[in-house]
């Protein structure tokens, strides 16, 4: 599984106000991280429908990251909190269909945490590389 040259497909859905800004800050600070993650911007992690996650895994994603503001910092008061609650449910569903729930991660990165964004990127890629290709990605071939 642990093929050195294998590039995992990881999709991130991140909120406009905290994590997207943090990711931009990481850019400004030239913090280097692996290029395996593609980000989709939404206004708030509250927007993340569990179906988006299921769809991504069905399409063959090897990993998925949802990243928003810290609790108490949500631009929309509590969207991140509601999203985090949904993540427990989705992780359970993933386990039930035989996917390792470590493929789905939720993190909280603020607009001033560029360095943390870089670490999250490193860590997510490392975790997914350890887990290897998603068993569901076979169906996409």
């Amino acid at each position: 599984m642990a093929d050195e040259n294998w590039n995992p497909k990881i999709i991130a859905i991140i909120c406009n106000w905290c994590s997207y800004a943090g990711a931009d800050l990481a850019g400004g600070a030239r913090i280097q991280y692996p290029p395996d993650i593609r980000a989709i911007r939404v206004m708030c992690t509250g927007r993340v429908d569990p179906l988006f996650i299921m769809k991504a895994f069905q399409d063959g994603a090897d990993g998925m990251l949802i990243s928003g503001c810290h609790f108490g910092d949500c631009h929309y008061l509590e969207g991140n909190y509601k999203c985090a609650k949904r993540m427990f449910l989705v992780k359970n569903v993933l386990k039930n269909i035989g996917l390792n729930d470590r493929r789905l991660r939720m993190t909280f990165v603020s607009a001033s945490e560029g360095a943390k964004w870089g670490m999250v990127m490193e860590d997510v890629v490392k975790t997914v590389k350890e887990l290897g290709p998603s068993p569901l990605s076979e169906y996409q071939k």
Binding site: Y20, Q32, P35, I40, R47, L51, D59, H75, Y76, K82
Partner: protein, 675 residues
Amino acid sequence: MAEAKEQPRIGVFICHCGTNIAGSLSIEEVKEYAKTLPGVVVAEEYQYMCSTPGQSIIVDSIKEHNLNGVVVAACSPRLHEPTFRIATQEGGLNKFRFEMANIRDQNSWVHMHDWEGATSKAKDQVRIAVAKARMLEDLEPKSVPVEHAALVVGGGVGGMQAALDLASAGIKTYLVEKNPTIGGRMSQLDKTFPTLDCSQCILTPKMVDVGRHPNIELMTYTEVENVEGYIGNFTITLRKKARGVLTPTEAEARGIVGGGCNGCGDCAEVCPVIKPNPFELGMAPRKAIYIYHPQVNPLLYTVDFDSCIKCGLCVTACGEEKKAIDLDMVDTFEQVKVGTCILAIGYDLIPIEGKKEWGYKRFDNVITGLEFERLICASGPTGGKLIRPSDGQIPKKIGFVLCAGSRDNTGGVAKPYCSRFCCMYSLKHAHQIMEKIPGAVPYLFYMDIRSFGKMYEEFYYRIQNEGAKFIRGRVANILEDPTSKNLTVYTEDTLLGRPLSLEMDMVVLAAAIQPKPEAERIRQMFGVSKSQDGWYLEAHPKLNPCGTTTAGIYLAGVCQGPKDIPDTVAQAEGAASAASIPIHIGEVQLEPYFAQCIEELCAGCGMCVNLCPYGALDLVERDGGRQVMEVTEAKCKGCGTCGGFCPGGAIKMQHFTSPQICAQIDAFLLEGGEQ
């Protein structure tokens, strides 16, 4: 959606950003790849897409190729989305027919040494953006009126300046201060550097102006309790803390004609409760009924209900005529409606006793810079006579420890940043003791003297010439002689390269500063982010230093980061200017990312109604008694929490619709395979 589906005609415009992007990935490859994507009819590249010629390329291409969607692959939408939306509009399209691929901040800058990886990621990013652009719809921004009033939180020099500017621009301004008086930190200072102006002398005229200005409603002893709404329409709930004392106006409202507090002080004279005075940093006593300091504005006494024993002596002393004291007063709440808000809540000193090696609070003669200000101030506890706290003697050798907890990475209470004004006030302190105490010698233990402002360096030279001793080295330890209470300062003279110990009569710590404890609560109420060090985060450190990411909220003074008085006042004026713009325009455009209910799909379960943090959703009855959800657009902020949950997929989040997001996911994972 129902009308005949138009064929997508997308233009992709790729920016080099000089070498910022072009230096780390192959623009040519991305461009050629973009041309192969479904729906793309033209792909162009340019050195700087945001420049006037760059934007012209977009405008011209829209017309020439009859485009109905624009994708720009460049920097972050947080930076240039507004620019390119205007270009899209100039080309004749609805400005929401635009999508951005962030191939700089989130690609070329973070994968600088991975040409292949970055190029491949850029292709994916363009593909994802094109997938969304294919599905974009025309949207109309919603215009809302702006309340012709502003709120300023914090009545220090920054808050006062901001309030004065707003009020002078014709805007009704509420100035909220939690202490019984305005004035803030600056009213605790004796002199200001480098001009040696008396702090109170230059501050009191401003305090008087604030008190007199017809457009300022000064609300002292008041705190912000709750914030609702958005730019243009904030509803602020204020807690007016029980002062225990009536103003003349309040007295009149109670039918006591000619009554109310006139500041005579008869009450404080008879009050039997004695507590430390926080304005004097605990170095002087204060009664339970008090004025905060001699120059308070408004001149009103205040009852400290935490220490008041309700003996009623003050009520008797106040007399039947004034009847100004009401010991049964309770907090009251008031709501104000404002269009914009400025936060200017200031700072605190760090608890420097946490740096145990310097012995603050253990050794009597180790004090902070702020305590020094009070001791040297004519209105201070000693009437301006600098004495040693241990024995009341006049100190002759005084050590100043600079960077006390600033520029210090050792953790604990220490802060890694420069507190920015301690070098200058320590120089000023040195000058003051040499001026006031004949034969006194100040010793300044410093790392670097940061005298960066106008006339600051000249002031530094002046203090050197006056005879202050400068020792370049951090103070490792301070020990006290138990009998004489003298202090021995252990340090290293790094210029001579040798350890040093010097006996001092007194040591002043130029303690670092930190955000106030209430900063966190206030920040969360107003929706303002914080920097890593806890100071409020500005919208852009260089280009928008007064704004925040929450529209309509602006920052002034130290709450955004350490700064001295000139910088605080300058930022306050900037914030006031920025905060007055939407008010003077009279309306703001909100991005139309509202939720919409697709009534055919809505089962009327009402889950979304409970989820909405703004109360924007309601269940309404349609023909035949069927319940469906209805959105009040004015209340909806577009977070999408309802849309992320709706089990029936009946909520459409404009500009972030489920089909659009699914198309983006598919575009990445299925390599552009059709959805």
